[in-house]
Amino acid sequence: MLKFALSRLAAAIPTLLIVSVSVFCLIRLIPGDPASLMLGDLADAASLADLRARLGLDEPIHVQFGIWIGNALTGDLGRSITSQQEVLPLLLARLAVSAEIVLIAVVLAAIVAVPLGMVAAWRQGGMIDLALVGTATLLLSIPAFWMGLLLLLLFVLHLGWLPLIGYVPIRQDFTQGLLYVILPVATLFLHEVGVILRMSRASTLEILRLDYILHARAKGLSEPAILWRHAFRNAFGPTWTLLGIILGNLLGGVAVIETVFAIPGLGRLLIEAIFARDYPVIQGCLLLIATMYVLVNLVVDLLYPLFDPRVTAQ
């Protein structure tokens, strides 16, 4: 297991290197540079040249990359051009915000959607199946930002139950933190529950058609026992993989939801950095996102044998 994990991590190094080089080069190929954006129309040629030199943008691109990658290997991702903050602590602080919302939403969505998907599969073609699949499809079809706005209008504007603006980490103040994350979590939850439910249903349907389920029924086992003891573990594998992909995606940024609820998360930071051509932040964000993808999928792969013993880490 350890060997497998280490080899996967080692295999990730070239991936991260390719990501670094691509991001570094591509962002510089886009017209526009941070110096002119910072000075705007007030810039004269001399101030522009001064600022570019101060930001190190006048160096050849391979020199800039060499400096950046050298520092990155020591954990120094540089400083944000716009806010002057150190990039690594900035990224970690923003990731903590996004992760809090995403983890709560995805865990809740999985807890609700996996059993419901199995029930839908169990009652395939019936009213329960129709209702669940219909609801899942509806939730899946509603854009997350629109769902967020609807929730905001209902719970903030009309009912006045929840605060609109602000963010307090749950680990800092549970009650306040909960209040501020309810709506973004609910928005993500409602969206992801549809995705997970459909996957859970589809994989359960496949399993329920296999001979060993027929055999279990022939032995007279109850339906709940068949579903839980025999179908669940085998059916959960694909859903587990999907959860990994969803987590990787969402941790990389839920910019739209963060914008609607004015939450200072990683996605919003990345979007703002792209518009401001804040190269160190963009590079740091994308490297972090790529690393998270690798790690989340590694964890998913390592835990997979727990659900399906036929699959081994080797």
Partner: protein, 512 residues
């Protein structure tokens, strides 16, 4: 369970809305830094200038008045400026303001390590050099410059220069790095949650400049609220919900939302005009656009009042001048505009030898400027007049890059505020170098701009500005069509003018 849930919610809600005396506003972007004139944008300037003040500041007519100074005296040769300081002014930490503090600040600003964006305005690189600064007594500052300059005080008052704000030395950390602003402004720095919110509290020891009402950045400046909390919110729908729910006391809203708020008695809407210029810039170095008859044809094809009405939902005022309408230099001549004359367009196009070559208007879709909307309306008007106009939309950073390089024909572009008309003309005038974005290269105009920067006599300046405006109307290096307009919605709980020049100005604003 239900009781617990409701209690929890109620408990949480206590912390959400503002206290009675806290003005809560939204800002579209986070503050960049609290270091005046160093790492800044318009939002940052608006916030920082609640906490720091300079020797002089802008009045509402664009002239410069004393702020921390009691008065400003210029010597007969125009080289020496004397600033006696106001008595009783203290910093937020209780220390009294003295001339020594001003000397310390000036030395800090002139140190390249400070990275003050306006260093070039005072070290001779842009013409003016402060050759000497001294304190003949503890409450007087004297500055001597290298040559007479009519915009020296203007440069000191510039908001993007942080008003050359006077800070207490404790604003720096022990290692000399920036810590926090300890200024003399009506509000004190309280807290900053990056990406989320910025908070200031009233400075109890504030000594307001004389005046019975605010006058730009001078005049009455007493803090009337206990605190100001600014939330970073970029989504227009969230801002709207914030206002309607009472969470926000004021915010800039999209012009399409203005009618809704106007019809609601719980809100007031202020159309805040500023000196920024919305323009259709014509790149006169482009082979096609270098033809002055063609540029005149384009100007005659565009119905300015209709264009402005379209892009501002009827709320903007057309202005074709580089001088903003509130300026003391906005004369009757400055009110002259390009005449909309479709018949003349035909003649001018024939004179220009125009054969239907495409003319591309570059625009962006930033929500803060009507760039794209303007391009669409201008394209329609030009096409109706027989000019083959096309639109190319690009992201702002890309457009800015094209602007500086001069690689374009037409561009829907907005210039930031310049109060002194000389600086406003200078924004778009200069030799073409492919680096600085200048579009008006007329040597006669450039000479007049240089001259007016050295002239202090208002009558002479007015004459030069009027001459420049008439030359500009004839040369058509760009089509200025209106000034910036921000629609600020305020809760009826607030009284007072909450913004000036599209920046927050929350002193003398009370909350019921």
């Amino acid at each position: 369970m239900r009781t617990i849930l409701i209690s929890t919610l109620m408990l949480g809600m206590l912390g959400a809305p503002a206290t009675a005396q806290t003005i809560v506003a939204s800002i579209a972007q986070d503050v960049r830094s609290t270091n005046p004139g160093v790492n800044r944008d318009d939002t940052t300037d608006g916030v920082v200038l609640h906490m720091v003040e300079g020797l002089v500041g802008y009045r509402e007519d664009g002239s410069v008045g004393p702020l921390l100074a009691k008065s400003v005296e210029m010597s007969a040769d125009g080289l020496t400026y004397t600033f006696p300081l106001r008595d009783g002014v203290t910093f937020h930490n209780g220390a009294s303001l003295t001339a020594e503090d001003v000397l310390w600040n000036w030395a800090r600003y002139m140190d390249p390590a400070t990275e003050w964006r306006c260093l070039a305005e005072f070290d001779g690189r842009n013409g003016v050099k402060v050759e000497d600064i001294s304190a003949p007594d503890p409450m007087t500052i004297v500055m001597r410059i290298n040559k007479p300059n009519a915009v020296f005080l203007d440069a000191l008052a510039r908001t993007d220069c942080g008003m050359a704000g006077i800070l207490h030395p404790d604003s720096l950390a022990a290692d000399g790095s920036w810590d926090r602003p300890i200024g003399t402004g009506p509000y004190k720095f309280a807290a900053w949650k990056r990406g989320e919110s910025f908070e200031m509290v009233a400075f109890d020891g504030y000594v307001s400049p004389p005046g019975d009402k605010p006058d730009g950045y001078v005049g009455a400046k007493t803090p009337r609220a206990e605190a100001i909390r600014l939330h970073v919110i970029s989504d227009p729908e969230t801002i709207k919900a914030g206002l309607l729910s009472g969470t926000l006391d004021l915010a800039a809203v999209a012009s399409t939302d203005v009618p809704m708020f106007r019809s609601n008695t719980d809100f007031n809407v202020a159309d805040s005009m500023d000196a920024s210029k919305h323009t259709l810039s014509l790149q006169t170095a482009d082979p096609l656009m270098s033809n002055v008859a063609l540029r005149q044809a384009i100007a005659a094809a565009i119905d300015l009042p209709m264009l402005v009405a379209q892009v501002t939902n009827g709320m903007g005022q057309p202005n074709a001048s580089a001088v903003f309408p509130q300026s003391m230099y906005y004369s009757d001549i400055q009110k002259q505009q390009f005449g909309h004359d479709p018949a003349r367009v035909r003649d001018l196009l024939a004179e220009a030898g125009y054969k239907g070559e495409p003319i591309t208007i570059i625009a962006n879709k930033r929500p803060t400027t009507p760039s794209f909307e303007t391009a669409v309306v201008a394209q329609a008007m030009m096409q109706a007049a027989g000019i083959n106009a096309k639109i190319e939309v690009m992201e702002w950073a890309t457009q800015l890059s094209r602007y500086f390089s001069g690689n374009y024909q037409m561009m829907s572009f907005s210039y930031s505020s310049r109060f002194d008309p000389a600086l406003s003309f200078e924004q778009f005038s200069g030799p073409f170098d492919g680096k600085s974005g200048k579009v008006w290269h007329n040597p006669e105009a450039l000479a007049l701009i240089d001259e007016v920067k050295a002239v202090s006599d208002p009558a002479r300046r007015q004459a030069i500005f009027d001459a420049l405006h008439q030359m500009y109307l004839n040369d058509v290096p760009m089509i200025i069509y209106s000034n910036g307009l921000n629609d600020i919605v305020t809760s009826a709980r607030l009284t007072g003018d909450v913004s000036w020049q599209s920046k927050l100005r929350l002193w003398e604003v009370t909350k019921q």
